[in-house]
């Protein structure tokens, strides 16, 4: 595997604080969802990305509105960063008319073309050919927009993964493939679903580079993504960036995750991306108590408001069960 491209970057304090805000907001969004499930208020399957936030923040932070993302089920945060209002996203989880699906589905199953967000089906891996198709149009137009496509290490075992990455390699498409390797696909540890350590190695079978990085370090993710984005925007084709991480919760909120040890979880909790980044900001005097309180306050207000909005929003009308099927 080639060494990680060390792209130089400089982020202004406000930018670092913005990243901090996103980390906090995304964490809070998922944590609230988890509570809402336990309260029986959200009935959707909820697959939190708690513990994995650095990946979303690090990969989405450098994106333009025109760039497209193709998220996976743990990536609701990427919808927010790409411009979906928290109240809309929360409505989506409640199945209300104010959600992206107008109640037809929940979670990631809806997108916004104008914001560059593709909303996938549940079929793992099936977002990747779509990502290639989006990227193909950017190549056709000779723009320097890009597509970021996310997938779990488990999904990297699907046929669609292979067909999509191969096509992207052949066509040198402007797409960055982000593997969120959280060690498990539902209950199955990655060593029982692939005989390799790094999903990044698969990139070489498609003629482009793959790198494995610390997915819990938001700046490392940002840096690796920057390099991959630069390559893609410059017409040099795809990159696979594998972010090693861990999900704190079960596969879904209904999964007790007996298949892993408390020690393993504790070890990974000690690598929580948020405190790490907080310390980084504090030692550099970008963040102080006041700023942190202000940001945490804003996060709380935003989430509270989103939940209120969603809970008070209307259910769809029964008649709409059969509309919006055909254009």
């Amino acid at each position: 595997m080639p060494p990680i491209k060390r792209t130089k970057f400089k982020l202004a304090p406000e930018q670092l604080l913005e990243m901090f805000y996103w980390l906090k907001l995304i964490r809070a969004f998922d944590e609230r969802l988890s509570i809402l499930v336990k309260q029986g208020k959200v009935r959707s399957g909820v697959y939190t990305g708690i513990g994995q936030e650095a990946i979303i923040v690090g990969t989405c932070y450098g994106l333009r509105r025109e760039d497209f993302i193709c998220p996976l089920h743990r990536d609701l945060g990427s919808f927010l960063m790409k411009g979906v209002e928290p109240r809309v996203m929360m409505s989506q989880m409640f199945g209300k008319v104010t959600g992206l699906s107008k109640g037809r589905d929940s979670a990631l199953h809806s997108g916004v073309d104008e914001l560059g967000i593709f909303g996938n089906t549940s079929m793992l891996g099936s977002n990747l050919p779509v990502a290639a198709g989006l990227a193909l149009t950017f190549k056709m137009e000779k723009t320097d927009n890009v597509v970021i496509a996310y997938f779990g290490e488990g999904a990297s075992n699907t046929g669609d993964f292979h067909e999509a990455l191969n096509f992207a390699g052949v066509q040198q498409l402007p797409v960055v493939f982000i593997c969120e390797n959280n060690q498990y696909a539902y209950s199955v540890p990655s060593e029982k679903s692939m005989a390799i350590d790094d999903v990044a190695d698969r990139a070489h079978g498609y003629g482009f580079d793959g790198v494995a990085i610390n997915g819990n370090d938001v700046l490392a993710v940002y840096q690796a993504t920057l390099g991959a984005l630069a390559r893609a925007r410059g017409g040099d084709g795809p990159t696979l960036v594998e972010c090693k991480t861990y999900r704190w919760h079960g596969h879904s909120e209904h999964d007790k995750a007996f298949y892993r040890t408390d020690e393993e979880l504790a070890m990974w909790k000690s690598r929580d991306p948020i405190p790490t980044f907080t310390t980084y900001l504090r030692t550099r005097h970008v963040l102080d108590d006041a700023k942190q309180q202000e940001i945490e306050g804003k996060v709380k207000t935003t989430i509270d408001e989103a939940v209120d909005f969603a809970m008070n929003a209307a259910d769809p009308a029964p008649e709409d069960a059969v509309t919006d099927l055909y254009a």
Binding site: G95, G103, D105, H109, T158, Y186, V188, P316
Partner: protein, 327 residues
Amino acid sequence: MGKELSYLEAIREALAEEMRRDPKVFVLGEDVGAYGGAFGVTQGLYDEFGEMRVVDTPISESAIVGISIGASLRGYRPVAEMQFADFISCGFDQIVNQAATLRYRYGGRSAVPIVVRAPSGGNVGGGLYHSQNPEGWFIHRAGLRVVAPSTAYDAKGLLKAAIRDDNPVVYFEHKYLYRRVKGPVPDGDEIVPIGVAATRREGSDITLLTYGAMALPSLDAADRLAKEGVEVEVIDLRTLLPYDRDTIFRSLEKTSRIVIVHEDVKTLGLGAELAAVIAEERFDRLDAPVVRVTYPDTHCPFSHVLEAANLPNADTIADALRRVAAY
């Protein structure tokens, strides 16, 4: 026969008993091992039979089916689990082309005794990709058998029959019934033969044909009609391919009226074939139109309001029965 099992336990017991009886029977699928499957159907099997007979697979539906086919050619009887019936679309080619045609292209010299278990159906808030009823696609493919039990008894007996059958069988187990339905189950070597319907309720005025979870509201509706003086014969098809022509035609002799109820969509759902066959072969026996009560031609929405709007229920079924009775 004092023992009562849930529908889900009945499936599990069938697996365990068949695995004990025949060392060539094994199960494979995602999370079926130590975890016991997404719904817990395979719980305990891993401990009893070990990892070579309870095989956790990567997320690779096409391979899961293809591997099953390969093993079956060496005399094994694999039972493959799709985590949700919805994902059977990812293993489609292996089922409809590889499994369904092998015996024919081999000139009858071989067979593919595999079972593909597919947890199907809605009314569980699963949304578009965790609620599907894809049986129609497989009923449309010669070379397959398709079953869909509605009771614990049939869940066990039909699964045993499916495992012992030398043909590829797609076994639809309805998620709504998993823990909501309980009942006695067959003992020992007793099976429920493929191709034989069950008359759940006798009646002389209307024949109601149904299967799967729709058996429940159909029986409710029949009870209501009885109070109105209309005796509905409720036939639970159990096997969808080949469906039980004899039982259907025999009932029609009595009633001269047919209502078909299924959760699959209307257009080219099984009801289409049943109605067509009846209109073709028993035209003169019919005193009223063959009426279908089905899911409308759309997808299964997440919002409970929308989902309820789409699902047939005792009210809509009773209405149809009344219309046919009054014709």
